[in-house]
Symmetry: C2
Subunit: 126 residues, 2 copies
């Protein structure tokens, strides 16, 4: 398993730094799996840029504050591109960067896998 | 992107249930990305069963309590197999189940990706 070899070597290289609070990998993993990031990334994954209100509608239950915070974090990490469109009335659009697309592909593969297993454990509906 | 299509359909199907506290997908994702689970899964990913003390040594900084809790959680979710070996002295070994191997492959792909990006952002060492 090539990826696994990479990960083991990474873990060994970090040594004592692995998974301490400030370990860059731990921090980066926590950010992309935080409460709302996966849902916003999934919403943007079909390639269509989305406006603020559209993202808010897709992430049922998100507050304005958490939407702003999560989008800013994803922008800082280079996964989401924010573009102010000079139209009348002006509006802002969000889309995945190429790195965001690569990230989302991996994240969704993980989400779909755990989701299938979690749902298989649920009592059958109807 | 096939996985993405699946994820969008999943999200639509869940409707209002998506990402609420009790959403099974959210809960399952939180469990496998919790503080110590990724490191224990990575440690087991080379296929060699490991004993308690070996796992503890690999997960620098983990407490006995968190090691027990995380292993029990991974066992409950069907990702880790616990086997008491009837030898003298008796000991217990942990290994990945087939589902655990599939999970870890996906999780490591995500971890290696975010790790590479996080480390590229760090100031160069030396």
């Amino acid at each position: 398993m090539e990826v696994s070899d990479r990960a083991v070597r990474l873990a060994n290289a970090f040594g004592e730094g692995v998974y301490t609070e400030n370990c860059p990998t731990r921090v980066a993993l926590t950010r992309v799996t935080s409460k709302w990031a996966p849902l916003l990334l999934a919403a943007l994954s079909d390639g269509e840029p989305l406006r603020w209100n559209e993202l808010r509608r897709r992430a049922t239950g998100i507050t304005e504050k958490m939407l702003a915070q999560t989008l800013r974090m994803l922008e800082e990490d280079g996964y989401v591109h924010r573009e102010a469109r000079p139209v009348v009335p002006p509006h802002v659009e969000y889309s995945l960067t190429p790195a965001g697309e690569e990230l989302t592909e991996r994240l969704l593969a993980l989400m779909v896998f755990v989701s299938d297993r979690a749902l298989a454990d649920e009592p059958a509906a109807g």
